[in-house]
């Protein structure tokens, strides 16, 4: 069995509702987390994301001005200076399947519909910690692999085509810096 050392994880929680932030903080601290940063809107969350470099982001969807979906899209910028790979858990009152698809297409890693439960939140965190998915980059998408299962019976159009072309090792930042001197 696996145990998560929550005290080594840094969380960023974004929700405009102070009651929900309090609940999330309580749950995360009870799991053992020490570092829980809170933002009440997407813009502040993005700033805190750059500053604190959290391991996991938990965000609401519906917020004024700059919502959780936009926050996810801003984080999932492959060319950004920050970390575009951090797991994002969307915790929302939206409960329609269509919303799950929209969140998934924005690069959200896990979707958790309210009402919140300790078990639901724990399981989503366990998923992102223990079973991270590879990232996919296309012309229109950058985020965790949206295929969780292989469906051999699938008959529709394919989003991805083409054979394996090459494997590119990304140069390290140090190498990049050296080559630019």
């Amino acid at each position: 069995m696996f145990r998560i050392d929550f005290n080594k994880l840094r969380f960023l929680v974004c929700d405009d509702n102070p009651h929900m932030r309090r609940i999330l903080r309580t749950l995360l601290h009870s799991f053992g987390a020490r570092e829980v940063y809170e933002a009440e809107d997407g813009a502040t969350a993005l700033e805190m994301y750059s500053h604190y470099v959290p391991d996991i982001v938990i965000t609401d969807w519906a917020m004024p001005i700059f919502d959780g979906l936009e926050l996810a899209q801003m984080i999932r910028q492959p060319e950004s200076k920050g970390n575009p790979y951090a797991p994002i858990i969307m915790l929302t009152g939206h409960s329609e399947k269509r919303r799950v698809t929209v969140a998934r297409d924005a690069g959200v890693t896990e979707f958790l519909a309210k009402p919140i439960s300790a078990k639901g939140l724990y399981q989503r965190i366990l998923n992102v910690v223990a079973s991270p998915r590879p990232f996919i980059k296309t012309k229109t998408y950058f985020g965790p692999d949206r295929r969780r299962n292989t469906n051999s019976a699938y008959m529709g159009p394919e989003r991805r085509v083409g054979e394996k072309h090459e494997v590119m090792q990304q140069p390290s930042l140090l190498d990049k810096a050296r080559s630019s001197i």
Partner: protein
Amino acid sequence: MAKNSARDIEVTAFATHQIITQPNPLRKVLRRVEKKDMDDPIGRAEQALAGLSGEFKDWMTTEVNRLSAAHDAVRNDGFTKDRRDELFRAAHDIKGDAATFGYPTAAGVAESLCRIIEHAPDLDKVPAELFTHHINAILAIVHENTKLDSISVSAELSRRLRKVADDYLADVNRDRPEHLEVILAPSIVPAE
């Protein structure tokens, strides 16, 4: 926490996409333990949540007062984008929070209200009573009832309001298939 350097990131390129893999940057927080050594983080969190429950009534009152104020603003001055958004967010917060706070049927009524705000083609044409009945029901469930609201009356009220709202939405969206599909689709949240 650990963050992989760019050197660890492997990119496999295909004609239309790239697959980017890297060692799990959070692997260091996972520890294999014997079952007997497993503690119970979920139980601990549930206990902590129960410890907050003394505040839930006050929190719920704050939420419904916000909804009531948003409704008053619409009733007095009509819908604008800001007033519509505030009414939706207030109802949406209740939809998400009320069950946690011990008022699951208030959450059901708030969900019905959210659906009207989201799917009615013209909010100015929605009968005012439809809003008023939903908001009065939420107020009544929270202010008049106890948390034992699973008992009959409020649950029945919630069911009936949802039925009226759904019938209305199905009628006004009969020429808008994309909305109709969403309205008729089942929720991903299991029913109570």
